[in-house]
Symmetry: C2
Subunit: 292 residues, 2 copies
């Protein structure tokens, strides 16, 4: 099994990064200086030719289409019960896909949101990903018990950078396993800002093999958030059958559209209400929250 | 029990913040604009009169005294196995109190450090503190099983700010309980940069009542690290019988000394080697790491 994944990673890396040998530098586009295959303008050309994702085009998409893409996110550690309740009410009002909250608020959010058919997304091993695998397993089962419908887990970044793919794989499976058993959506946060392109390809391949439903760019707590190039690369690696979530720094409608054009099928944002106001053409959208 | 703690908090708040009634503003010193009772210069006066802490004076202290104060810290999520091993070797060489590492590295560090009588410190519910209480309990038992000798846990900040002290107390006890059972040192991280002075007093009082061994200023991952005023306030609240750990932003010998003068008995620092080089009077100390 381990050998199979290693071989799969080599095949995908070779294909996506267009490497012809260990010394070959992958070809990069002239406009963004990213890997040619992942250039968002190249993808935009494909989209303009007819493809649309979830009904959202660069030039349009209804407010409901936009809301259905967003995990309405409030992960700051000092959020109060009152702020969490307000956040849940906003999600019901605007019909966001989910609210994304820290684990200690899941039970409260599930009581409020389940009757309204709004999802409850939470985070595991967050935001460093450096807890033990069996703690992530325990935490996953706990948040599912509390009512989470989606779980975003952070990979063990140090193990990936140490070349210990067996640990990375087992760590992801500790979350995707219980999620699959319980019909809960799993997302694998790769924290792209800390990874090389080769590491991004590797971990997306491992996440796909581990049965994750999504790969996700960022926690929003590291030194960089989602980029169009990362979303495009991740989409290229996981193919059409998996979700890609762009999170961290998506604060307006144009950023959201860029991410969707590059291949994102879900957006993590604390500025969801502002983005919807923009989509509706409100004259003065509320200021975007400064923190994730 | 809950009523007792609430009463204790009221007594300590009244004493430390010198409040004479709900409308009274606590008196502040002219030099630092902090609460008068917590002014570091006032404490420095006490120290200069003869008191020293762990043999370290503003004007001196051996290199060994300085090393024995430091939790040699490497918590960045992308640290590799090689970096962790180097970090442990540095701790042995310089005789730091402990290494402070993420949970996934505890077993490795314990194998290396236990024969050398260097402690292994790790973190629980880190850095947001917003996981479930029983996950913190599970994680604590797991890291103790792996060989941790000290556990630094993050409080549930949102619960504190919501006035839910019962949750804050149970959450702390979920870590201090197993630590006490196993002879492991427990530290309670209050993330002072996110709290008001009243909240700092409250949570230090709760931590003391819950049997914690230390209170600790910061995770190093929030918007501010340790300050002299916070250390002084925390020392004043917990009294002489508990430890106070200053962490986050202590990057040189003079900062370390300021913290010790204000009441710190342990320092969390990623720049430990540089600080020791400074203490030895090395001509060109190594550059301090930019990240915690």
């Amino acid at each position: 099994m381990q050998g199979d994944i290693q071989r799969l990673i080599e095949i995908v890396t070779e294909e996506v990064l267009q490497a012809t040998g260990p010394a070959a530098a992958p070809e990069r586009c002239g406009c963004h200086a990213v890997l040619y295959e992942c250039c968002p303008d190249r993808l935009r050309g494909v989209l303009d030719a007819g493809a649309t994702r979830l009904g959202l085009r660069a030039s349009g998409g209804t407010t409901r289409d936009v809301a259905a893409l967003i995990d309405h996110t409030l992960l700051k550690p000092d959020a109060t019960r009152g702020e969490i309740e307000t956040h849940c009410r906003e999600a019901i009002e605007h019909r966001f896909a989910t609210v994304c909250l820290n684990p200690c608020w899941v039970a409260l959010a599930a009581r409020v949101l389940r009757p309204e058919h709004v999802g409850v997304c939470t985070v595991v091993g967050f935001p460093l990903g450096a807890t033990d695998t069996d703690v992530k397993y325990y935490e996953t089962r706990r948040v599912i018990f509390d009512g989470a419908t989606e779980v975003d887990m952070v990979i063990n970044i140090g193990a990936l950078k140490s070349g210990d793919l067996r640990t990375v794989e087992r760590d992801i499976e500790a979350v995707t396993g219980p999620c699959r058993d319980c019909g809960v959506t799993s997302k694998v946060i790769i924290e792209a800002a800390l990874l090389t392109d080769e590491e991004k390809v590797t971990v997306c391949t491992v996440a796909k093999a581990a049965g994750a439903d999504f790969v996700k760019t960022s926690t929003g707590f590291s030194r960089g958030g989602a980029t169009v190039a990362d979303v495009a690369l991740m989409r290229r690696v996981v193919g059409a059958g998996m979700g890609v979530k762009a999170a961290g720094g998506v604060r307006d409608l144009s950023s959201l559209r860029e991410m969707v054009e590059a291949g994102a099928t879900r957006i993590g944002a604390s500025a969801g209400v502002r983005i919807l106001q923009e989509a509706r053409g409100d004259p003065e959208p509320a200021a975007a929250p400064s923190s994730y």
